[in-house]
């Protein structure tokens, strides 16, 4: 459902992503992890159509994100880390606006807006201006907007930031349920417990290069730390990739 081949993204002289390869299947929850500045958000920007790649091929649902960007966007839902919304719209107005951008109209739109407001527990705030929402409420509203049109791929940057424990639990369950229904969920997070709990596979990116890819168990084996939790595995893999004792030299790609 998501196919990345030889992706490079450069900002001037700085290469944020260097030759990334990745294939994520339908119905899979994929965790994209890495230290700060590793290239996660840049990759997400390319996937969601916010930035064109400098080099390489990226497809979502079989659509090239550059040459068929509208088709790719039409089957994608995107939730950024910090969702800046139109502060002087109400939550309901914002959802209606978002739905219409994806072609929803009339009764379908009304029902879907109500459904998302209810699911994300925003009904009592639906007619308040977004400027009065807390960070977590804005995040939930952005999630509702991303799911309105029933996307085949959901791209989420730091899903748990701003959510309370109840909200976090609900979102984790939501991701698993969506995947069961066939949706592909591509998420980045610094909360390794979340990644461990919801992801089928995890890719660890460092300095723009995928240094490890697999299930938590497979990653633990790669890090020669069987039985360890993901935090321990992540630290070992990324520290080793700094170059001192490299189990995984910098240019090694994940499979």
């Amino acid at each position: 459902m998501i196919l990345i081949k030889g992706l490079h993204k450069r900002y001037g002289d700085f290469e944020a992503v260097s030759g990334l390869d990745l294939d994520v299947s339908a119905g899979e929850v994929f965790g994209f992890l890495g230290p700060n500045g590793a290239g996660k958000t840049t990759t997400i920007k390319v996937l969601s159509g916010l930035l064109p790649p400098s080099e390489g091929k990226v497809e979502v649902g079989g659509f090239d994100v550059v040459s068929q960007s509208l088709q790719a966007k039409a089957i994608t839902g995107f939730i950024p880390d910090t969702p800046f919304l139109f502060e002087r719209l109400t939550g309901r107005e914002f959802l209606r606006f978002s739905g219409r951008l994806y072609g929803l109209e009339g009764e379908d739109l009304r029902l879907e807006v109500d459904r998302q407001l209810e699911f994300f527990e925003l009904v009592s705030w639906a007619d308040n201006l977004i400027e009065s929402y807390s960070h977590g409420m804005k995040k939930r509203l952005a999630m509702g907007a991303a799911l309105l049109h029933g996307p085949k791929v959901l791209i989420v940057d730091e899903p748990m930031v701003g959510l309370d424990p109840k909200g976090s639990r609900k979102v984790r369950k939501l991701f698993r349920d969506l995947a069961k229904g066939g949706m592909t969920v591509f998420l980045t997070t610094h909360e390794l417990s979340t990644a461990e709990a919801v992801c089928d596979r995890i890719g660890i990116v460092h300095h723009g290069v995928m240094i490890a890819l697999g299930s938590v168990k497979e990653l633990a084996e790669m890090a020669k730390a069987p039985g360890s939790d993901l935090e321990e595995v992540f630290l070992r893999l990324t520290l080793e990739n700094e170059g001192q004792e490299g189990l995984f030299p910098r240019q090694v790609q994940g499979k």
Binding site: A16, G37, L70, K73, F97, D127, S132
Partner: protein
């Protein structure tokens, strides 16, 4: 706010931080920003020079035309200037103080730091002061340089004038800050800035209209003897011994007539005393109200909006979904942001003055009427250029950090642009037609010239909309605290320059058909029909080029993605 760091250290730290931020702009943005700053300074210097020249001319005219009344009229001029500065500063300081003390993004960090409260107040006040008064400090000084020169006064005049002028600027800044602090305490925070921008712009509109209706052009006319008393009465500014403007005007009068005399020092003591007293009052009110008012900024944000499928949404529902959605959103955001729609007061005042000026022209004969109509085309083009830079250029930047919504949705950029274009082009075309057709009807232009000028003004509105919209996408400014900063950005200035260039070229191209028309009507040998057609074709091609090419450039720029539209790089 604790008292961990003393007043001097707090002041030094905050000032140093501000200087460092400014220096870093040049340090990290390189040679281009230095060149840009120099260009802006040069442009500013030209305007200061023009300001000086204007007042030299005005004072000379008063001296020549009014002779024995001239000293009285010059005093009235000084008083009028002081009164205008005072009023403008009091209004703008009120809004700047609310922004500087409550809304600025750095306030939470500063307030949670152990800074000296006095240092914090002093630092923020000077920021507010310079933000609201820099333009008056820069452009308010040349009239007095011209005054000194025309009256042949010593340079010492300026030494005495400068502190009076400075204190006269500080006093309204203190009054505005005090009023802002009180309003924030009394009213819900979300309503205060709306109320202030409403009051400021409504007052500014009234001041502009009253100023024009006072017919200042009479200063340049001969006054018949029998009308002297009426003229003096009409020109006398109301004065009160309790007003700082009267103290400052008296100080300048004393300096002019008697140098540094006793009455001069008396008025200076009044000004200084008032400054000190207001500063103490401001400090007291700040300590009393600030904490609770600041807390209300967040608490006051909750606003419930009546749930309804509004007329706007129903209307936009019949359009293309994408274009309709953006129009719906933009109309709602415009209506809910008083800082934007209250500017329509100024616009209304401008249109009223425009038509009033046309009424005031003593025009006789077809030639003069059409000549003025032709000039009117250029002037209304300049007005449109200014409006476009202020309202249309920011259209893409205003999407700001929410641009990710558009870029990640299956929205063709062309339709996004179309919605922005329609949102701006419709009202601008109406304004352009009102300025052009309204004025032409008033001055009696009819027939083919009326058709030509109407079509030209419509074409200019459509082209300038495209130009500003495209330039706004090519040179966006996503990081801003108010919309005015977007228009004042380098891209905004470039857009303004291009707009003025377009208007100038349009005037050149349209001169040919207009000249042919005159020649024909006056029975003279003029340009051939081909030349006139060439001019019209040139104007058409120019309109297409200026209206379309920037939009295409903007589409390409947005198509290449925006590095930071709505979330941080990590």
């Amino acid at each position: 706010m604790g008292s961990g760091i003393g007043f001097l250290r707090t002041s030094w730290l905050l000032a140093a931080c501000r200087v460092r931020q400014t220096a870093n702009i040049f340090r990290f943005r390189g040679v281009r920003s230095v060149a840009w700053a120099l260009a802006v300074m040069l442009l500013g210097a030209v305007f200061v020079w023009l300001d000086h020249l204007f007042f030299l001319r005005l004072i000379a005219a008063i001296q020549e035309k009014l002779e024995f009344l001239a000293p009285f009229m010059l005093q009235q001029l000084v008083h009028t200037l002081f009164l205008s500065f005072f009023g403008l500063l009091a209004l703008s300081s009120m809004s700047s103080s609310i922004s500087g003390f409550f809304m600025s993004r750095e306030i939470p960090m500063l307030v949670s730091s152990p800074l000296s409260p006095t240092g914090f107040i002093v630092h923020r006040f000077w920021l507010v002061f310079f933000q609201s008064s820099w333009m008056i400090l820069v452009f308010g000084a040349p009239p007095f340089f011209a005054y000194r020169y025309r009256l042949g006064l010593e340079w010492g005049f300026l030494v005495g004038w400068a502190p009076a002028f400075f204190l006269l600027c500080v006093i309204p800044a203190l009054i505005g800050s005090i009023l802002g602090m009180i309003l924030m305490r009394l009213l819900p925070a979300s309503r205060v800035s709306q109320a202030v921008s409403f009051i400021s712009l409504a007052a500014a509109s009234v001041i502009i209209i009253l100023f024009r209706m006072s017919r200042p052009e009479r200063l340049f006319m001969e006054v018949p003897e029998e009308e002297v008393m009426g003229f003096v009465e009409a020109m006398t500014i109301p004065e009160s011994p309790l007003l700082p403007t009267s103290w400052a005007a008296s100080a300048v009068r004393e300096l002019t007539n008697n140098g540094f005399s006793g009455p001069y020092w008396k008025n200076m003591v009044f000004l200084f005393g008032a400054t000190l007293g207001l500063a103490t009052l401001f400090f007291f009110i700040f300590r009393l109200f600030y904490r609770e008012s600041l807390a209300s900024v967040d608490e006051g944000k909750t606003r419930r909006v009546k749930r309804q499928i509004s007329l706007v949404e129903r209307m936009s529902g019949s359009m293309d979904p994408v274009v309709g959605s953006y129009l719906f959103k933009d109309v709602l955001l415009f209506a809910r942001d008083p800082s934007r729609w209250t500017q329509l007061f100024l616009l209304g005042a401008l249109v009223v003055l425009y038509v009033y000026n046309a009424f005031s022209f003593p025009l006789e004969g077809m030639f003069y009427r059409n000549l003025i109509a032709f000039m009117n085309l250029a002037i209304s083009g300049f007005v449109l250029s200014a409006l476009c830079v202020r309202f249309v250029f920011p259209a893409v930047s205003l999407e700001g950090q929410s641009l990710w919504i558009t870029l990640s949705s299956p929205v063709p950029m062309k339709r996004f642009f179309l919605s922005k274009y329609l949102f701006a082009a419709f009202p601008l075309s109406l304004i352009s037609l009102a300025l052009s057709m309204g004025t032409n009807l008033v001055i009696g232009v009819r027939g083919s010239m009326m058709v030509l000028f109407t079509l030209a003004s419509l074409a200019m509105a459509l082209a300038l909309t495209g130009l500003s919209l495209g330039m706004g996408a090519v040179y966006p400014k996503y990081d801003f605290e108010n919309e005015g900063q977007i228009a004042a950005s380098p891209g905004g200035v470039a857009s303004m320059i291009l707009s003025l260039g377009y208007i100038g070229l349009m005037v050149v191209f349209l001169a040919a058909p207009v000249y042919r028309f005159f020649s024909h009507r006056l029975g003279l040998a003029g340009l051939a029909r081909g030349d006139a057609l060439l001019g019209l074709t040139g104007a058409g091609i120019l309109t297409l080029a200026f209206g379309v090419l920037p939009v295409l450039a903007g589409l390409r720029k947005l198509g290449s993605g925006v590095p930071n539209p709505g979330f941080d790089r990590s």
